[in-house]
Symmetry: C2
Subunit: 327 residues, 2 copies
């Protein structure tokens, strides 16, 4: 493939955000422009018999049919010990070139796998997939690269300090998974049977939970019991207890993050979840936070641009190919 | 029945600690002495078709066969809205006579049901069953009644401030249930597949978890992720991650309780769990805490002694029938 034709619409890269439960695939053109996208529930836990090659082929055959040499790159749990091939963690501080330098190729597949990032020492922590979204966010908003705090809501929320274009430190909160297991398997979920799951706009009960968590000192294990006791003493309708619990959990995360000295500049993630985090931050006095969605393809393009020689040909003199995405 | 024979061994009261998952039944003699005990997995959630009368009969028929008029009393979730009959909460401060005054009789069964205790206001909280154990502990250790903090580990741990012989305030921590749902349904449990459940003596990983929680400020949702990230960065063997998680959860509860100004005088509960709490308290510098087990029968006797006239006859001049248990 030669890339120097530069025609808009010509495929340059297959980019995969391949996580635990889902696989999002993008066909990217010049400057990382998204030409096509697909999403399948084929996260690594759902791949039968570990036939990752078969899944990759099924997703990309049509794209590669037109260009068998089209390079492909993947981030996320596909690079974990439970995935296709383990791409060992890169330590913090980790900038774009460090992460690109940790890429591992799956033999015979032409797939480049992005490593995760690990923080060792007194506060060990890990990410795998978020590093790619972060570099995507920095490509879209270069002003965040100098010094910023990014909040990435999700099953395992991350608060990430970015400095000098790299990931300098981060903390993971199991907020999303806590909500899921408490709703699905604890007395708090049984109490709220019949209530709709809180996935729309946050309600007043959500805000009440945020405020209660923000002002509390007794710790999360005590806070969450108030979603039960409030109902039992008649302070809280059972139908609102899950919204209140969502507020408690997100509120405690935001409280802890702010207490740790972070002040979020951007929230990156699934839009309805970002709305909840923005609302919680606003309750605690933090306004005007940028919200970014779907940063993975831009991040995969940034990383691939450093790691895959064919993408560099034809980029001309641009030293920041990704920041040209809006061209 | 006349009780004035006072013969040791004569049955005076059937006492039931009837919770969500289990039913513990005691045949009590003079001064609350335990003559016989039974335990069945017949907590209120396990009673088919809500046939509480049938369960009561199956447990007590032999005891009542000898004395059909034998009074019976029960504490715990049997008195909740999901139980046999609802015994409305008594508000704090709640002393023995207030709780005894809230007893509700199940029509036709001769069963007295003890109410729970509720704390209303800014920190709503509830207990149902623990109030009875507390009065049992005070009967066994009257010196705790003036002013003390009691820690009651369990599915829903309670830290209870006792003053002037009554329950003045309390905080519930969902520590035990959090551990159960995280072990059974989260990534932390999957990571530790094959590891023995931490139900024996606490290990060094438990102590490490306690110390990490005690020194941390990032909140529980972040703390617990270290049980995963520690394994992934090679700091923590996967086989010890549940012990470490147990230490994190109990450590965070103890940290929060101590930070709230409480200093435990006694731990009341299941012995192997009390050992963990005593170890966690010792890690945080609190030693010489009394450990009490199986306080429910003494508490049921105390409450019944106030509420059931037949028990008062024959107690002679003693104004504290329960404190005479060691006679």
């Amino acid at each position: 493939m030669t890339a120097d034709l530069g025609a808009r619409g010509e495929a340059r890269l297959i980019a995969l955000d391949w996580g635990t439960t889902s696989l999002r695939a993008y066909l990217l053109g010049d400057a990382g422009m998204v030409l096509e996208r697909r999403a399948e529930p084929l996260g690594i836990l759902n791949v039968i018999d570990r036939d990752f090659a078969g899944v990759l082929a099924s997703i990309t055959d049509r794209w590669r049919g037109e260009n068998p040499e089209l390079p492909a790159i993947a981030s996320g749990m596909i690079g974990s010990a439970q995935g296709w091939i383990e791409a060992p963690y890169v330590g913090v501080p980790a900038d774009l070139s460090a992460v690109a330098g940790g890429i591992v190729m799956v033999p015979g597949s032409g797939l480049a796998v992005v490593p995760g990032v690990a923080q060792r020492g007194a506060s060990p922590d890990v990410m795998r997939g978020e590093e790619t979204q972060i570099f995507g966010a920095l490509a879209e908003r270069p002003e965040l690269g100098r010094l910023a705090t990014l909040v990435m809501p999700g099953t395992h929320s991350k608060w990430v300090r970015v400095a000098d274009g790299g990931i300098s430190r981060f903390t993971t909160y199991m907020t999303g998974e806590l909500f899921a297991v408490l709703r699905g398997h604890s007395i708090l979920g049984r109490l709220a049977t019949g209530a709709p799951p809180p996935d729309g706009a946050p309600s007043s009960a959500f805000g009440r939970g945020v405020r209660h968590a923000a002002g509390a000192s007794e710790g999360l294990a005590a806070l969450i019991f108030s979603a039960r006791s409030g109902v039992l003493v008649g302070d809280l309708p059972a139908s609102e207890s899950l919204e209140y619990l969502s507020g408690l959990l997100i509120g405690d995360e935001v409280r802890a993050g702010l207490a740790g000295g972070e002040r979020p500049d951007a929230i990156i993630g699934e839009p309805s979840l970002c709305v909840r985090y923005a609302a919680a931050l606003a309750e605690l006095g933090v306004h005007d936070v940028t919200v970014l969605d779907d940063a993975a393809p831009a991040g995969l393009w940034s990383i691939a641009s450093l790691a895959i020689p064919s993408l560099q040909r034809g980029e001309g003199s641009s030293r920041r190919p990704v920041s040209g995405r809006a061209n």
